[in-house]
Amino acid sequence: MNKERKTVIELQNVKRNFIVGEETVHALKGVSFKIYEGEFVTIMGKSGSGKSTLLNQLGCLDTPTSGEYYLDGNSVRTMSKSERAVLRNRKIGFIFQNYNLLPKTTSVENVELPLMYNSGVSAKERHERAVEALTAVGLGDRLNHKSNQMSGGQMQRVAIARALVNNPAVILADEATGNLDTRTSFEILVLFQKLHAEGRTIIFVTHNPDIASYSSRNIELRDGRIISDKLNDNILSAAEGLAALPANTDE
C-alpha cells in the first residue's frame, strides 16, 4: 500500500456557499482530501451534511466558491461550463439512484450515449465498446432490450456499463443501491467490488452505513465538514453477503 500511487482526486479546502434569499448557506466549509487510483471510497453523511454538494463538486457539475479541486491533474475551479462537460465526458462515469436511462431505448444505445459526445470515437468503435461494457456487467445477452423491459437491477447494470464505457478516471455513484431490494443491492455491490478489484477508482455516496464495510475507505461528512476519514482494514465480501442471504422465494 505504500508504493507511490497516482492521485485521481485532490480537494484543497473546498468551500461552497449558496445564497438563499438574503442568507448565505455554507454547504461545504473547507473540505480537503486526496483519492488515489484504485480506491473504493464511500462518502457518508446524513441529509444536509453536504454530501450532495460534494458529489456535484466531484462530478464537475458545480465549481467551488473557494479552494481548489484537481481531477486527474486538471484544475476544475476555473473551467467554463463546456470545458467541464468535456472533462465529465472523458474522466467521470456517473451512476444515479434512479438509473436515468433514456426511455424506449436499448441498453446498447444507452451505454453508447457518453461516447456520442466524444467525436474521437467512431460509430463502430462506440458500438463495440458498449457491447464490451455490457458484457462486463453481465448483460451480454440483453444488448437490445429496451430500458422499460428490464428490472431495476438490470437497469442499474446498464447504468454501470454506461459509466464504464468511456473508461473514466473515477466512477461516481450516487446512492446507486438506494432503489434496489437487499438481494439486488448485494448483486450490485458484488459488481462494484469486482470493478474495484480490476483497479477502478470508485466513489460511492450513500447514507447507508452498511455499504461502508464493503469499501476500502470511508469518509464521513457532517455539516459540511469531514468528521472521519478511515481506511477499511476489514473489507467484507459482498459475494459472501449475497450467499448468506436467505433464498429468495419471490422469483
Binding site: 457539475l61 426511455p103 457518453p114 459526445y117
Partner: protein
C-alpha cells in the same frame, strides 16, 4: 457530436411521440399546403384571365361612345349616339398605327329556324372584325364588302347558335334563319371557341354586315363601338393617342386653352393592354391576399411547433440533465433540439408540398379550376419551413441548453 448522430437522436425523439409529432407537423402541413394551393389558384386565375383577354383579340383597342362622366352624371354608354360611321371612316383613313378596324353594332333577339329558336345577339361588323377578335370561319365564307355596301341579309352563326337552330346536325349553310321577323341567309359557321374562364359562352353570337344590322334591324345611324387592332403591341399606346386626337377633331371638341378648360372626350378608348394590366394588378392583389391568409396559418403552425418543443423540453428535463452529466455541452443540447424542430417542420413542409400539389391536381381535374403551380412557391416553402423550425425551435432549445445539470438530473 456529429450531425448524423444528432439526426438519429432527433428522429428517435420524433418517432417516440408519433401522434404528437404528427399533430405538431399538421400545422405546418396545412400552412404549406394552403400557401402552395392559394398561390397556384391565384396565379392560375391570373393566367387564365390573361389568356382570355388575349383571346378577345390581338392588340385590341375599343372605342365606345360617351365620356366617363358627362355633365356630372354617369351615362349609360349605349344611350350615347356620338360614335358615327364618319368617325370610323376618319380613323380608318388616317390612323397609321392600326392594321384592322371595324365598326360594331349589336342587337339581341330571337333566332328562328323551323321549329327551333335560340335567343342570341347579332353583331354587325366588317370583315376586319375576324382578325381583330381572332375569330375563324369554320365552314362557309365571310361576308364581303359588296354585302356591306348592299346591306345584304346574310349572316354567320356562332357554334352555339348553329347547334341550337340545327340540332339534328344539318348543314346550316344556305338555309334562311329569321332574326325576329327579318330573314337572313346563313353563309358560314364560326369555329368553336368554348367557354372563357368566367364561364361565358364565347360561341353564342351571330355575325352580320354592320350596314344590315344598322339599317334593317336597329334603324339607327350611330355605332355602338369601334374596335381596332394596333399594328404591334408596342404601339398600342400611340395608336390610342392618335385615335383620340382624330376623334376630338371630328367631334369638334375644343382643346384646353389659357382661358378655358378643354371639352371632355365624349368617347372612351380602352386598349386590351390597359384591360390586361388592370386585371393583372387586381389578380396580383388577390394572390397576395390569398397568400397572406395562407401565410398566417403557417405562422400559427410555427407557434404550434414552439409550443410542443417547450413541452418537450420540460418533459425531457431529466434526459437533458443526464446528457449533460455524461458530457453534452450546452451547444450539443441546443443543436439536438434545434434539429428536432427543423426536422419536424421540414418533414411537415415536404408533406405539405405534396398535399398542396395533390389539392391543386384535384381542383384542376375535378372542379376545373385554373391552376398554375409556382416552382418558387415550393422552394420558398422549404426555406420558410427551415426558418420556421429554427425560429420557433430556438427559444425552447436555448432554454434546454441553459438548464442546470444538477437540477435537471433530479427533476421529477
Amino acid at each position: 457530436m456529429n450531425i448524423s448522430t444528432l439526426f438519429k437522436i432527433a428522429l428517435r425523439a420524433i418517432f417516440a411521440n408519433k401522434t404528437r409529432s404528427f399533430l405538431t407537423a399538421l400545422g405546418i402541413i396545412i400552412g404549406i399546403a394552403s400557401v402552395i394551393t392559394m398561390l397556384a389558384i391565384g396565379e392560375g386565375t391570373k393566367q387564365s384571365i390573361k389568356s382570355n383577354i388575349s383571346e378577345m383579340g390581338s392588340n385590341m383597342i375599343m372605342i365606345s361612345p360617351g365620356a366617363d362622366r358627362f355633365g356630372g352624371v354617369q351615362q349609360s354608354a349605349s344611350s350615347m349616339e356620338t360614335l358615327k360611321l364618319t368617325d370610323y371612316q376618319a380613323l380608318k383613313d388616317e390612323c397609321k398605327y392600326i392594321r384592322a378596324i371595324s365598326p360594331t353594332v349589336s342587337a339581341s333577339g330571337q333566332f328562328i329556324y323551323g321549329n327551333n329558336n335560340a335567343p342570341s345577339s347579332v353583331t354587325g361588323a366588317n370583315a376586319d372584325y375576324l382578325e381583330i377578335r381572332q375569330l375563324k370561319v369554320a365552314d362557309g365564307e365571310m361576308f364581303t364588302d359588296t354585302d356591306i355596301k348592299t346591306s345584304a341579309k346574310v349572316c354567320l352563326l356562332g357554334n352555339t347558335v348553329a347547334e341550337n337552330l340545327f340540332p339534328d346536325g344539318a348543314d346550316p349553310i344556305g338555309k334562311v334563319v329569321r332574326f325576329n321577323s327579318i330573314p337572313f341567309r346563313v353563309i358560314g359557321v364560326m369555329e368553336k371557341k368554348g367557354y372563357n374562364s368566367m364561364g361565358m359562352d364565347q360561341d353564342d353570337y351571330v355575325l352580320a354586315p354592320y350596314t344590315s344590322v344598322m339599317k334593317r334591324i336597329l334603324a339607327q345611324n350611330y355605332l355602338h363601338m369601334i374596335v381596332a387592332s394596333a399594328t404591334t403591341e408596342g404601339v398600342t399606346e400611340k395608336a390610342t393617342e392618335e385615335m383620340t386626337s382624330i376623334l376630338r377633331r371630328t367631334h369638334k371638341l375644343k382643346d384646353a386653352s389659357d382661358e378655358t378648360a378643354g371639352d371632355e372626350d365624349d368617347f372612351n378608348i380602352r386598349s386590351q393592354e390597359e384591360l390586361s394590366n388592370m386585371m393583372d394588378s387586381t389578380m396580383t392583389m388577390l394572390t397576395v391576399l390569398l397568400g397572406s391568409v395562407a401565410g398566417i396559418s403557417l405562422i400559427v403552425g410555427g407557434i404550434g411547433i414552439m409550443n410542443i418543443m417547450y413541452v418537450s423540453v420540460t418533459e425531457r428535463t431529466r434526459e437533458i440533465g443526464l446528457r449533460m452529466s455524461v458530457g453534452a455541452r450546452g451547444i450539443d443540447i441546443l443543436n439536438q433540439f434545434l434539429i428536432e424542430s427543423v426536422l419536424l417542420s421540414v418533414t411537415g413542409g415536404v408533406i405539405g408540398v405534396l398535399l398542396g400539389l395533390g389539392v391543386c391536381a384535384f381542383l384542376n381535374q375535378v372542379i376545373h379550376l385554373p391552376i398554375s403551380i409556382q416552382v418558387w412557391s415550393i422552394i420558398m416553402s422549404f426555406a420558410v419551413c427551415t426558418f420556421t423550425g429554427i425560429f420557433f425551435g430556438w427559444y425552447p432549445a436555448k432554454k434546454a441548453a441553459q438548464l442546470d445539470p444538477i437540477e435537471a438530473i433530479r427533476y421529477e
